[in-house]
Symmetry: C2
Subunit: 897 residues, 2 copies
């Protein structure tokens, strides 16, 4: 991207080597637009508004698709004709608003004469006293002059930890700045009365740019027009534009200093997740290799593949299919063993504990970051007080409509804004809620319908291909059908994913939630439900329903009276589940994450390049001279972290939910994430407007969603092992039925007999002599009574015994794994020991610091109140504290008084 | 208790009518010892120490049994002879320590010439400037002068809420002071620089007595002897004695004002729990009544009781017992229906959701209290920095021992305390840890052994009584045995409960944990495990093991080769479980909670009365003139809340764990708690020393234990319903085997046939013609093949089908209930809406208040820096802020400068 040069400001937090890498010209170019006209006052914030004729449709169109743009698009409503002639009123209100801002101490500079037509800019600078005042109100913790030594752990554990950190460094972005430092500044909530505590020698850098911006944002949120309840969200179009020279600094430089704690936490989380995927993928690969190594010693598949094995199987479809020899299933049986062996049971227990460990580690990491980022003691606002622009517009329109009936509009207009109590009631929202419910059900229905459609495709294609006379076609039928069906599923998932993202956003906009927080929560909930249903419905069908609703020879189950339900291959459905999983997961990651995220920007760049060739040279020149904030204005707005987290949580689902059937999932996830971190970082730095730095102590709702997925994973894995795999039937055979305690005879035991004379008319194979002899009995995989019993074809005692064992396994597995997770949770303390010691130490140091200050006062009191000790009226120390000189203060105070 | 008169101080927070109820003499008597000798300075804290010859063994013995005395008994170690001659050194250190306290600004008064021999008192008074300074360090939130109106909810829901609160008022103690108030003071962290914000007109009452005490305690914790690392915990015996006139005020007056937030939270929790028990007991009673009402329509018991029912049952014991008619089980079958009907399934789901609701409500209540008590923003200390006396003594001894080998003791003694790094290592603690593990296992083993003993008692007594020839004895055998066994169990539980409490304490003392926090946690963990095992082992045996390990006729299971394992009565084991549960629960509550807690104090009073009669009149007089703090010194120290919470959590276990079998449990718990609240309040006020007010935001580990119990309850209830009750067999019969879909024939279906010729030799009944005819086949309750099948007496297909259904029910129940609990958790917001709105409102008001203050400064800046707007060097506002008069300040400042 030509407009995103790697240019940097001379602000101190940047590392010197990066600064030096810039040529002087680049440096000057970067400064362009970063300061007020006087070149002295830094621009901390930018407000944007439309001038008369709105023509910014281009910039708005960009924020479509997935982006979670929390502030955007009030034009949706302004296209309303009744609003159009209030443009002048708006201008007047804006002036009032800006006046109020000036009253708050902010300094403004207007720039309407830009090269961007129809857009006006208000540049805001926060002078030092405003910064100090607001930092005090916000109780920002700032580093004091007091420095103390951080004890370095010296044990073996610490050394291993350092080694691991070094080895995995490329995997996680640099979010913590303190790593390896031996000293730390004590932090204390900034207060003007305690100024002497802080090192204010360089006022320009005491508050860094992200802090300055969030301070200005705080003031903006608070300011309102006095008479009318017009707030910023109505008056300005894009007010979150916070420009800053973009640079590829994010991997060298702590993200949180640039983006704030909220985005810093995302990268920290992603880094930890990726790091934790390493052991998981290692164990996964070992489990897979164990399967490969033991495939030749597996008795059931040996029996199936044995040349003397002579079992005749019942046909797989009506009429077209023939009897077949079990030997033909040899390949599938051997392949199934790769994923269906005792090691996978171990692996799914391991992964459940891994998930618990991951959660615990994240809690600790979060605690550590909170401490290092001086967020301990900061309380997150539980109620976001800031109504969204859409909400305020909606309320406004409602009031207008009400008044329209009785008064003239213009009178109403000025009156309406004085009524404070107006709000959207449940009744106003009812249509939106109904639409929401209906649409959600419809969307889920669409997913189910498509999955059902793919099933029908598989059944019909299988039957059709079986009729073909080409023997090679026939032998490859199963593989072909499976693969094409999985690809169809994948394509459908990819398309629906985009559709569902848009639908969820549309539905949430319809609801008009009051605050950004509730908007985000509702959007996340809907997106989560839709995307999970979309991604996992076909997989759940294969895991738990396929091959279970088949019926039995002589009384098969039919869909639409002619399609027989599909069976699994002899080795169980686990193999097919595995294929489906790997195709979906790999496809989603390769296509959605990488192709879309890399490819589409490249494509855009190409298009722009072609366009610019056609354009006149002059215009290109003009673009180069754009102010920094003008360039930023045309970037996409920051869309929130929802899409990034959502992508990762679905991946987490693939890694944990069906891990029993696909031990390589963590490996694929790991490979994807190593790329993902870099792509995300690049996107945030170079392609999006810089967001307002938000403070956050935790990752919020996402932690709960992760916990939820991890919980569900335990149950699903229990069911996969006990119902989808043959693990339990094998165990039951070995300990209850096997004559010699070995697995010999297992294959025979799992198959029931069928008398071919019991076939329904017209369902028997067309060519009964295909195998070269007359078939009287054929076998099928089920636990049913033989034809010669009193109750032929009824489920047998073995069926119930195996079912009971399967259910018992689910109960034991679920509860044992949940108990173990809880124990892991309980054993690992939430706060790392070194951090808790440091917090304690800081507290003591702080008290010591204050007590030293108090010493002088104490002595003074002693001399003033010699022996009366009444504890009354000894107000002196406080009065004194105002007059004694601050001995620690090194600030260059210039006293105006 | 004669020494605890209902006397009150004239401190303002007390209600006037209570004050007026005191006669002037009482009032004067109460003042005795509350002030320094000058009668002006209030005593805020008391330190106690031994003088030369320790003779305070009496007061120490009192803190025995269950009490969790976190600071007590350093004498245990001081009985060590090597310590004895350091008494002088201690006196010296004490003087140094007191000097340090004076340096910190505290005012002390010594009183060694008391009527209590061997005990010295140090009275501490914190003067105003110390209070202010420490309140600032501790960031105590104090009410400001700014008052705002609290919006009263006006909806129907609010009205119902008020009604419910009024109706249940007697159930919960008065913990919240703000109820019904329409205005609230804004709170702000106290700061001397912002003094003008607070209403300091009455300095005596601005900090109430509990705050003053906790401020002094904070200073004490921080103070150490300079050279030697002697801290308060070594120098003084009882330093937590914090006297205050005791009164029966707790039910009229907010607990937290008197005891602090931690105890306030306990009473709030107990109140909410009791309140929540009301709906639970209501539904429980309804479920029980449903059982009573439908007992006559219950087909299985009708079939058993039917006069034409002619089923011959196999004998219940070897030789002595005879064949019997199923009709004889009619009574038991009818009684069983009371607790084994579909409503109990509903009830156990209800109770699981109830538990989830309770947890959620508690979270909300806690949040509300945190807000009302101005604890929002207060961060709990994660690391208690204060080593316990025992730990410090232990470290001291270790150092002494080490030095003893090389140096003379006296030299070593003074040297040792300069080495800071000495601490107890794992190696020092290994013996204690080993003892812990061995003892815990031993104790659990004892419980199991006793339960097994009771089983043997039941088996042998049953067999013995069956041999008696008296027919009335024989018919009452079962009931007698059950009841006596349950009573034996109860007595054993009560005795072991006391023993285990003492053992857990002893084991924890052995471990020498470093801090009070870890002491408490370890003690709680051990007590919890032991007491739960003790209370629930017999119940779990009856619920899940009894009647399951019986074998079958002809091949019974024997213990010690002669005792046949016991069977359940025909109606299932649920009935017996119910009896056991009710006896244990009622007995525990009546005897342990009420008899012990009311009876023992009454007994003590009686003994004292008898003693005082013998004593001379003079001595009694003398006792009356004791200073307040001397009287308090002989009260039992505050033992922590552990025993109170533990009692309640075990009750919570009874209410939730087996609620499927005993729907009346919530009712019993409710009745108990109504008394319990009053007893606890009385105990805290009148019988214990007033504890140091501790701030706490939540109930800590107890919440997690409650959650754990609630989780386990879901699983246990699932198993009780599916395995202990006949619910699942009935369902399976109705939907799988019943010819007409009704329950007719169910009794017959559950019983297998036994050919009497298959009895082992010597096991057949002595009197085969007891019923008047030759028995060839008898029936027994089990799903087994009949004697005429190919595989006689092998478990039948029905057995496996029922087993599978039972297991499936467990899975479905567990997951559905857990999901529903999670949904409840998710639906109910953690912060009540009105509280979040108020917090938001307070924040806005606070900013408004500050901004108003800033106005003056702003205008000043504008005039100072006309138009340069460089934002540099405008340091003026801060300088000015020191000199402008605070217009809002109404304090009577007397300036000494």
């Amino acid at each position: 991207m030509s407009d995103i040069l790697p240019c940097l400001m001379h602000s101190p937090p940047l590392s010197p080597q990066l600064l030096n890498s810039l040529t002087p010209e680049e440096n000057t170019q970067c400064q362009h637009g970063l300061y007020f006209q006087d070149g002295e006052r830094r621009v901390d914030y930018i407000l944007t508004y439309h001038i008369k004729k709105p023509s910014s449709s281009r910039s708005n169109r960009q924020s479509s698709r997935f982006t979670d743009n929390p502030r955007g698009d009030p034009e949706v409503a302004s296209q309303d004709h009744s609003m159009d002639y209030h443009e002048d009123d708006k201008r007047y209100r804006r002036e009032e608003f800006e006046g109020n801002l000036r009253d708050m101490g902010l300094e403004l500079e207007k720039d309407e004469d830009t090269k961007t037509p129809g857009v006006g800019f208000v540049k805001i600078h926060a002078p030092w006293h405003v910064l100090c005042r607001e930092a005090e109100f916000m109780k920002l913790k700032m580093p004091t002059k007091k420095v103390y030594e951080v004890k370095q752990c010296s044990g073996v554990g610490a050394k291993i930890n350092t080694l691991v950190n070094k080895a995995t460094e490329p995997l996680h972005p640099n979010v913590e700045e303190n790593r390896g430092q031996h000293v730390k500044h004590l932090s204390y909530a900034f207060s003007r009365e305690k100024q002497h505590l802080f090192d204010l020698s360089d006022r320009d850098s005491f508050f860094d740019s992200k802090t300055r911006a969030s301070i200005v944002f705080e003031v903006l949120k608070r300011t309102k027009c006095t008479k009318a309840k017009y707030s910023m969200v109505i008056l300005y179009v894009f007010y979150s534009t916070l420009f800053y020279p973009k640079a590829e600094i994010v991997l060298f430089f702590p993200c949180r200093k640039y983006f704030g704690e909220k985005i810093g936490l995302y990268f920290a989380w992603l880094g930890l997740y990726t790091q934790m995927l390493i052991p998981a993928s290692l164990v996964g690969v070992i489990v897979f290799l164990y399967g490969c190594a033991t495939v030749d010693n597996n008795i059931p598949s040996m029996e199936i593949c044995h040349p003397r094995n002579n079992i005749t199987m019942c046909p797989l479809c009506d009429r077209a299919c023939n009897y077949w020899k079990l030997k033909e299933a040899c390949g599938t049986a051997r392949a199934s063993h790769l994923f269906d062996n005792p090691a996978t049971v171990f692996f799914s227990i391991f992964m459940a504990l891994w998930a618990a460990m991951f959660m615990e580690h994240w809690k600790r990491r979060q605690m550590r970051l909170n401490y290092e980022w001086d967020l301990t003691g900061f309380e997150e606002e539980e109620v976001s007080d800031h109504p969204r622009a859409e909400y305020e517009l909606c309320v406004m329109q409602k009031s207008l409509k009400k008044e329209h009936k009785t008064h003239k509009v213009l009178i109403a207009y000025s009156w309406v804004f004085t009524t404070e109590k107006e709000k959207l009631t449940c009744r106003d929202r009812l249509p939106a809620y109904m639409t929401n419910i209906v649409m959600m059900l419809l969307m889920i229905g669409v997913t189910f319908a498509i999955v059902f459609g793919v099933i029908l495709y598989r059944i019909s294609i299988t039957a059709a291909l079986h009729m073909s006379n080409n023997p090679t076609t026939r032998s490859n039928v199963r593989l072909m059908v499976k693969t094409t069906a999985a690809i169809i599923n994948l394509v459908v998932i990819l398309i629906l994913d985009e559709v569902y993202g848009a639908v969820a956003r549309w539905l949430t906009v319809l609801e008009v939630p009051k605050t950004d927080r509730s908007f985000e929560e509702r959007l996340i909930f809907k997106t989560f439900v839709l995307k999970f249903v979309n991604a996992f419905t076909p997989i759940i069908y294969i895991a738990f329903f396929r091959g279970r609703l088949v019926g039995r020879p002589g009384s098969y189950l039919y869909v639409f009276e002619s399609y027989r339900m599909e069976e699994c291959a002899h080795g169980g459905c686990l193999m097919e589940l595995c294929i489906q999983l790997s195709i979906t997961m790999l496809g989603k990651q390769l296509i959605q994450n990488n192709l879309f995220e890399i490819g589409i920007p490249k494509l855009k760049k190409l298009i722009r390049y072609i366009k610019s060739k056609r354009r006149s040279f002059q215009e290109e020149e003009r673009e180069k001279k754009l102010q920094r904030y003008e360039t930023d204005h045309f970037l996409e707005p920051f869309a929130g972290l929802t899409p990034e987290y959502m992508e990762m949580i679905i991946q987490f689902g693939f890694v944990t939910l069906f891990v029993a059937s696909f031990p390589l999932a963590p490996l694929f996830a790991l490979l994807n994430n190593i790329i993902e971190i870099r792509l995300d970082a690049k996107k945030f730095v170079a392609e999006l407007r810089r967001p307002v730095a938000a403070r956050a102590k935790d990752i919020g709702i996402w932690y709960n969603l992760l916990r939820g997925v991890a919980k569900v994973a335990v149950i699903i894995n229990a069911f996969v092992i006990s119902f989808t795999s043959d693990f339990i039937p094998r165990l039951v055979y070995q300990y209850m039925y096997s004559p010699d305690g070995s697995m010999h005879g297992f294959v025979n035991h799992t198959m029931s007999y069928f008398n071919v004379s019991d076939f329904q008319d017209g369902k028997e194979p067309m060519d009964p002599h295909h195998l070269g002899y007359q078939v009287e009995m054929c076998r099928y995989k089920d636990y049913r009574e033989p034809p010669w019993s009193n109750t032929p074809y009824v489920v047998s005692k073995e069926f119930w015994a195996v079912l009971a064992a399967r259910l018992a396994f689910v109960i034991v597995f679920q509860n044992v794994v949940m108990l173990m997770s809880d124990i892991v949770d309980w054993l690992i303390p939430d706060i790392p020991k070194d951090i808790s010691l440091q917090i304690h130490k800081e507290k003591i140091l702080m008290v010591e610091l204050f007590m030293k200050e108090e010493q002088g006062k104490m002595q003074f009191i002693d001399s003033m109140t010699p022996c009366d000790g009444k504890g009354r009226n000894n107000h002196a120390p406080i009065a004194r504290s105002r007059s004694i000189p601050h001995t620690h203060s090194h600030t260059h105070d210039v006293d105006y008084t």
